[in-house]
């Protein structure tokens, strides 16, 4: 039987079998950010160790950077302490750091691909669960804890158990107004938030083949929301075209050799999988969440489920969700009033996401009483967006146009929900308190759906609001 990409990459990076039977895996590229790395550097120094392969680690700041102030010291002294720490640590250990003054800073999962650091066939780790994003390029990429960040800094390897691989086919063609975000919210709703435990997800099928790299990143990004440690898509011409000419992508003859290698690392057409699941694009409509985990989703024209009709193991969290969200069973989700709109994050903070939303809100106004934020995922995204005049479209419509960062995705910076506010958000998690207020509420959706929510002040079907037809 032929190998899939996961197995090929795994084999190529296996260093040794460890005493407990797990594998020591070599890590091709290590990305770090300010929240989960300072403790790891501390542990390293405590043991008198150094960074083994500093050229394989790349750093940026994203979680704590304010998106509305540039002057340092920041008004939050803890944020300043964290940015100072990563500056000190990267300087001391000779690590490339995309700092705020480089024009290349941004959310770590946006920076890696746009610099061309993320490439097919690599192993990539970062102390951040959404590292699965990089799988869009055919890399095996997963989030790790801080002690493992320490291990990778010290040895460029880590201990890992091999995952099973589930192939997820999305067949057919997406209807107009249905986006990559809807595809992944649909998959999560069908397979559940822990359906992927122990698996890597390999996404394929016509829908995936036809997606842009940005759409593919949106899908792989949320693999972790389904419990899958990593998700990936086999590299193809779309992947190569995206990478060509990026700063860290191979050049000249090296490029041709790399493409050959990348083509060879893709799963063989007759590759073996531990499980295969098929979805039909015709069944996918704009999808939003109604609950407190990303698997609690429904299509925009559906009603919030009746708890007793759900599988038994989902009932208690559904009850908890209804209570927290203050929603009723059987209530339509369409028309739910919202207070805040957040367009951004490593799920949907790339240029095409902002373009889709800007195109939709062009010439319209954010509804009365709604606070709307458009937050580019990186400084490069910001610059390109501004060159296209998207900032102007957003601000004319009444959005706030911010600087690059994670912003209200998890609200470790000043961008936070207040009290019980409900946010229409393009991010990836709707956990209780996720967006900075312990009682704040999040409804996940695509950028164009968030744009529709912004101009109507409620959860709306973007296809109707913007007359999107085929």
């Amino acid at each position: 039987m032929s190998k899939n990409l996961y197995e090929k990459v795994w084999d190529a990076h296996t260093v040794a079998e460890l005493s407990d039977g797990s594998t020591q895996l070599f890590i091709g590229a290590h990305l770090i950010h300010e929240v989960t790395s300072p403790q790891a550097f501390g542990m390293l120094e405590e043991k008198g160790l150094t960074v083994k392969y500093p050229q394989r680690t790349f750093a940026t700041v994203d979680h704590i950077v304010p998106t509305n102030e540039t002057e340092e010291p920041y008004s939050d002294p803890l944020a300043q302490e964290m940015i100072d720490a990563i500056r000190r640590n990267t300087r001391r250990h000779g690590i490339t750091f995309f700092d705020t003054n480089t024009g290349m800073q941004g959310v770590v999962h946006i920076v890696g691909p746009e610099q061309g650091i993320t490439q097919p066939g690599m192993t990539i780790v970062c102390g951040d669960s959404h590292t699965s994003t990089h799988g869009a390029f055919g890399a095996i990429a997963f989030g790790i804890g801080t002690s493992q960040v320490r291990d990778v800094l010290a040895t460029q390897t880590m201990k890992m158990g091999k995952l099973k691989v589930r192939r997820i086919n999305v067949n057919g063609t997406l209807a107009p107004g249905v986006t990559a975000k809807d595809v992944i919210l649909h998959i999560l709703k069908e397979l559940g938030v822990n359906g992927g435990t122990g698996y890597a997800y390999e996404y394929g099928g016509e829908v995936i083949d036809n997606l842009s790299m940005e759409g593919r990143m949106t899908i792989c990004n949320m693999s972790i929301e389904g419990g899958a440690r990593c998700g990936y898509i086999n590299p193809d011409e779309t992947t190569f075209a995206y990478l060509k000419g990026r700063p860290y992508a191979p050049k000249k003859e090296a490029w041709d050799a790399a493409v050959k290698h990348w083509e060879a690392v893709a799963s063989a057409p007759d590759a073996d999988y531990d499980d295969v699941v098929n979805f039909d694009a015709a069944d996918i409509a704009p999808t939003v969440t109604w609950g407190i985990n990303p698997g609690q989703g429904i299509q925009i024209n559906e009603t919030i489920p009746t708890v007793s009709t759900l599988p038994e193991d989902l009932q208690s969290s559904a009850r908890e969700a209804l209570e927290y969200m203050d929603f009723q069973e059987g209530q339509p989700i369409e028309g739910t009033p919202i207070d805040v709109v957040f367009i951004g994050s490593c799920t949907n903070g790339r240029l095409s996401d902002l373009q889709e939303a800007a195109e939709a809100v062009k010439g319209r106004k954010v509804a009365e009483g709604v606070t709307a934020l458009a937050v580019p995922g990186s400084q490069i995204v910001a610059l390109e967006a501004e060159r296209l005049g998207l900032d102007k479209i957003f601000t004319d419509a009444g959005f706030q146009w911010r600087q690059a960062g994670c912003s209200m995705c998890l609200a470790m910076n000043p961008d936070k929900l207040v009290g019980r506010q409900i946010c229409a958000s393009t991010s990836n998690r709707n956990f209780k308190g996720r967006q900075g207020s312990p009682t704040g509420r999040t409804i996940l959706m695509s950028p164009v759906m968030a744009a529709a929510a912004a101009v109507t002040g409620k959860v709306s079907d973007a296809r109707k609001v913007f007359t999107i037809t085929g």
Binding site: D20, Q24, Q39, R56, M82, S129, G227, A257, R429, F431
Partner: protein, 199 residues
């Protein structure tokens, strides 16, 4: 460096009711602005322990005097889902907890916990309810997680528990922190690095 061989963990337990307890709940992101893990214990489960509006202590089990001495958490399925933040198991450890008994765990949380020497064992739904009920009725009873026999003992008897074999072995042999072993294989790692055609 030889680490403690973890064959069992024992102590009083506290039921933390619910499924899908995510890491944002275990340690809210706003408490992650720190460059060391030292002070995290205080903020473990902060938003369920303190009423967000009044700031007053809630009626949560973690605030309950009866469970004050607890050092083992009992919870539902998919415990520790969400972000990869090691801040979550670190907060649990810093708050004085030494083990978790639940119906299931998110992958990253489980791995992070093992690496910190915090055994996370699985029990069935029925057994979780049995244990929780027993502990609710008599919070003072000793709970023993026996990794050799893979059982959880409590006042009225015992229930079977499970754990991925590699992690169980790592805990029992004192290899739960793999760093030294990884360092020892440096030559092999260098050979793999040389064989890769990137960076």
């Amino acid at each position: 460096m030889a680490l403690e061989k973890i064959l069992r963990r024992s102590g009083k337990a506290v039921p933390v009711v619910g499924d899908d307890i995510d890491t944002d709940r275990i340690i809210p992101a706003r408490f992650m602005k720190c460059v060391t893990f030292d002070g995290l214990g205080e903020y473990m489960f902060y938003d369920v322990r303190f009423d967000p509006d009044t700031g007053k202590k809630t009626a949560h089990n973690l605030n309950d005097e009866r469970f004050k001495e607890a050092s083992i958490i009992i919870s539902g399925s998919n415990f520790g889902c969400g972000s990869s933040r090691e801040h979550a198991p670190q907060a649990i450890a810093k708050a004085g907890f030494v083990a978790v008994i639940a119906e299931g765990y998110a992958e990253i949380f489980f791995g992070n916990s093992t690496q910190l020497g915090i055994p996370c064992v699985n029990v069935s739904h029925a057994d979780r309810l049995k244990l929780s009920q027993a502990v609710e009725e008599d919070p003072a009873q000793e709970i023993i997680i026996d990794l050799e026999k893979m059982v959880v003992r409590y006042g009225a008897g015992e229930v079977p528990c499970a754990m991925r074999e590699a992690n169980r072995q790592a805990l029992m042999s004192g290899d739960w922190d793999p760093l030294q072993e990884l360092i020892d294989n440096a030559d092999k790692a260098d050979a793999v690095a040389a064989s890769l055609n990137y960076i």
